[in-house]
């Protein structure tokens, strides 16, 4: 498979680009933020995403979805990133769908996702940094389990219809085995959320599980063997976050290059100064390399190739580096105006930081690659 978009994917990109720019540009995020909106995104927009077919991209045709792949999901995510559109697309239509795919839960939750009614949240992190250790417990109780512990950085938790929760059914924190994934409905007794507004004005929760009782059929996949599902969820989430970061970094770079052409100092556009040209050209190179890494990861995931796991970590680490550079250069080259709330470039910096942290930052993934390579 050649490493560029095919004709259908290019068409999808063009449609998506136009749709997202029109319905959810940066001003949409700004308006939600200024209104201190308590949902954090627009339900109407989520519904429109469904009408466009976006929410069904990764859902199989047997469930009324489009049966497309990570490349197509990434096309949508890149435009979401470029426009900083707040939406549960990454967590719900990408990561949660991949986790539920092929399990009994698909029947229950996919119709709502296809329709743009259902939102899923991912309760997988327990510390300020994403990691492999899972301490939260799921104790066997009668026909089901009792979940106890706290999860963090659970975006959309306060409005989610279900939470996908990683808990420990046996073993110690760091063990691979003994992890089980659960689909927990929002109204479960003992579940509470402390919702926090993050730097990018999105909402995430610290979610407490106080002996939350679930039936045995809440288990996603197999008991004690949940890493399989979790890895699938993470591969999709990491690749998706990478695609969204490409959009954030690319959007910041485009704004900056446009500004370099128009802003004059010393009687000349600042873009004519070689010192800035070289930095912009370097940034372009980093972004292009990151773009290739993301497409490679998406294609390998879609092909169910054994090399996908490594490629996903490369993509997440590389987009983290490139997008961070893009927003830093963006602020610096805009000068003082870049520091103002009124100007949009600062919004890009905030979103890039959140996405860089989500599902493991560049250091986490570089470390992961090193470990797998045996050093």
């Amino acid at each position: 498979m050649p490493l560029y978009l095919n004709d259908e994917q290019v068409m999808l990109r063009d449609t998506t680009k136009q749709f997202v720019a029109e319905h959810a540009p940066v001003s949409h995020l700004r308006a939600l933020r200024d209104a201190n909106d308590s949902t954090g995104f627009s339900r109407d927009l989520w519904k429109q995403f469904a009408e466009m077919g976006f929410t069904s991209i990764l859902i199989g045709e047997d469930h009324g979805g489009l049966g497309l792949g990570h490349v197509e999901a990434g096309v949508v995510l890149e435009e979401i990133g470029r426009n900083l559109s707040p939406s549960p697309f990454l967590t719900t239509a990408v990561a949660a769908v991949e986790a539920l795919k092929g399990t009994a839960h698909a029947e229950r939750w996919f119709p709502g996702i296809v329709a743009g009614d259902t939102v899923a949240a991912l309760a997988i992190d327990e510390r300020a940094k994403h990691g492999d250790a899972i301490a939260m417990t799921a104790e066997r109780s009668g026909n089901g389990f009792k979940l106890s512990g706290e999860k963090r950085f659970v975006t959309h938790a306060h409005v989610a219809d279900l939470l996908i929760v990683a808990a420990r059914t046996s073993g110690a924190d760091v063990d691979d085995a003994g992890v089980t994934l659960f689909a927990v409905p929002k109204d479960a007794d003992g579940l509470s959320h402390e919702t926090e507004r993050l730097a990018d004005s999105s909402l995430a929760a610290r979610s407490r599980f106080d002996r939350v009782e679930v039936d045995a059929d809440a288990v996603i996949g197999e008991v004690d063997n949940g890493r399989v599902v979790l890895e699938r969820l993470l591969a999709a989430g990491r690749t998706g976050a990478s695609a969204e970061m490409l959009g954030v970094g690319g959007g910041a770079m485009d704004m900056t290059v446009a500004y370099m052409k128009e802003r004059k100092q010393f009687g000349a556009p600042i873009g004519s100064f070689q010192a800035l040209q070289h930095r912009a050209a370097h940034l372009y190179s980093e972004m292009e390399v990151a773009r290739a890494a993301v497409l490679k990861a998406q294609q390998l995931l879609d092909a169910d190739d054994a090399r996908a796991d490594e490629a996903v970590s490369v993509a997440k680490a590389m987009t983290g580096l490139a997008a961070t550079l893009a927003v830093q250069e963006g602020i610096q080259m805009h000068g003082g105006i870049g520091m103002t709330d009124e100007y949009d470039i600062g919004f890009y910096m905030k979103r890039a930081r959140v996405l860089a942290e989500m599902f493991g930052d560049s250091n986490f993934h570089a470390d992961r690659l090193a470990r797998k390579a045996g050093y």
Binding site: P2, L3, Y4, V257, M260, K261, A268, P269, G271, S272, F273, Q274, Q277, H278, A280, A281, H282, Y284, S285, E288, V289, A290, R291, A292, A293, L295, K296, E310, A311, S313, V314, A315, A317, M318, L321, S362, N363, H365, A366, D367, L369, A370, R371, A373, G374, Y375
Partner: protein
């Protein structure tokens, strides 16, 4: 269902398995270790067999037409061949400026006679080529070159000096930029080919900081060059030169990918520094540098794949080779800094039990030229800024 490409992969795998000598399934350790062919070849064990076997199928230049000694493979087949070679760690059968630089230029600009004369010899590794571009006063500002070609009827009389001519002392023929008119800087240049054995051609190696002399000064004193050896129209050589530079940048950018098979950088670091009881390299900061380098290196491998795919589909931006050259060479320099850091004092030893010819140090020193030759990093960044980002001129 078995597709034609699956079948091709299967056949290719079997053929490579049967024909690639064991010595050719190990990483290239130094520049000397690579096979260059030519009239006076310096073959290491296994090299000639491997080169001849690949050439017999046209696979030294798999995507060239069979009429010119190529394999006539499609883009997809070429990719499969590359993947299958990588899978058994097979070395490049033939390193050649003829393959990477002159060949593509001849395919585009050469006439039929020139193609039939030169391309098959390049494919079979019979003639080793060098590049006569730079001059003492025309480096980054290449178009200001002065070597002259005076019209003498059916031939030119060439006079002047070239510099940084890689392996001129080992090359059989040269592709050379000469000035055929002074009226216009870029519009007065012609692209000619001549035999290095011609009367009036002499070379002198330039000793570098690495202790090697891969580069030479090349002197031309009344050299007779038949007009039939001019590629493309008179005074239109700059078109050929630019086209060829794109391919040169592509070739140099490939250096950031390192050698095939294993990860010698990591293996070297582990051998010198050792692992701690958690199985991590015992120097945590070096480990972090290596890991972040690995991210960029693997991402760049994907970029190289994408670039080749886009080139073949005619989708690549014409200035994209500048990005590849810039990134690839900076990455290669970073790799060799890490090789030296990982090797410690062992890597510094010029002659010792563990090192002969200062292999690591020489390779490290050699890479410092990567961001100078073929257009400096700064020149590439200028090109990206102006031609891709369309930033204004000063």
């Amino acid at each position: 269902m078995m597709t034609d490409l699956d079948q091709f992969r299967r056949d290719t795998r079997a053929w490579l398995e049967a024909n690639c000598p064991p010595e050719m399934r190990q990483p290239v350790r130094s520049e000397k270790d690579a096979c260059w062919g030519g009239r006076n070849p310096d073959f290491q064990p296994g090299q000639k067999e491997w080169m001849d076997a690949m050439a017999s199928r046209g696979w030294t230049v798999p995507d060239w037409p069979t009429a010119y000694g190529g394999g006539g493979l499609s883009a997809a087949q070429t990719k499969i061949l590359r993947e299958e070679m990588a899978a058994i760690h097979a070395r490049n059968p033939l390193n050649s400026f003829g393959i990477s630089m002159l060949g593509p230029a001849l395919l585009k600009y050469g006439n039929e006679e020139q193609k039939l004369e030169h391309l098959p010899k390049i494919a079979r590794g019979e003639i080793r080529w060098c590049q006569g571009y730079s001059e003492p006063n025309a480096g980054s500002d290449l178009a200001s070159l002065a070597a002259s070609a005076e019209d003498a009827g059916d031939h030119y009389i060439v006079n002047g000096q070239k510099v940084w001519t890689s392996y001129a002392d080992k090359a059989d023929w040269i592709f050379c930029l000469v000035r055929t008119s002074k009226e216009s800087k870029q519009g007065g240049i012609s692209f000619v080919l001549f035999d290095m054995a011609s009367e009036g051609v002499s070379t002198k190696p330039i000793l570098l900081i690495s202790g090697y002399s891969p580069f030479c000064e090349t002197f031309m004193d009344n050299v007779k060059v038949p007009k039939a050896n001019r590629v493309h129209a008179e005074n239109k050589g700059w078109d050929v030169a630019k086209y060829l530079l794109g391919h040169e940048r592509e070739m140099i950018s490939g250096m950031g990918l390192g050698s095939t098979g294993g990860n010698p950088l990591i293996e070297g670091a582990i051998a010198t520094i050792g692992l701690n009881d958690r199985g991590e390299l015992a120097d945590p900061l070096l480990r972090a540098h290596l890991a972040l380098f690995d991210v960029r290196s693997k991402a760049f491998a994907a970029m190289s794949e994408r670039f080749i795919d886009e080139l073949k589909a005619g989708q690549a931006h014409p200035a994209q080779p500048s990005m590849m050259k810039y990134y690839g060479t900076e990455l290669n320099k970073a790799r060799h800094e890490l090789v030296m850091a990982a090797g410690g004092s062992d890597a510094l030893e010029w002659e010792s039990r563990g090192s002969s010819g200062g292999a690591k140090a020489r390779a490290w020193l050699r890479t410092k030229a990567n961001s100078i030759e073929g257009g400096t990093s700064e020149v590439q960044l200028n090109i990206i800024a102006k031609r891709i980002l369309e930033l204004p001129g000063a």
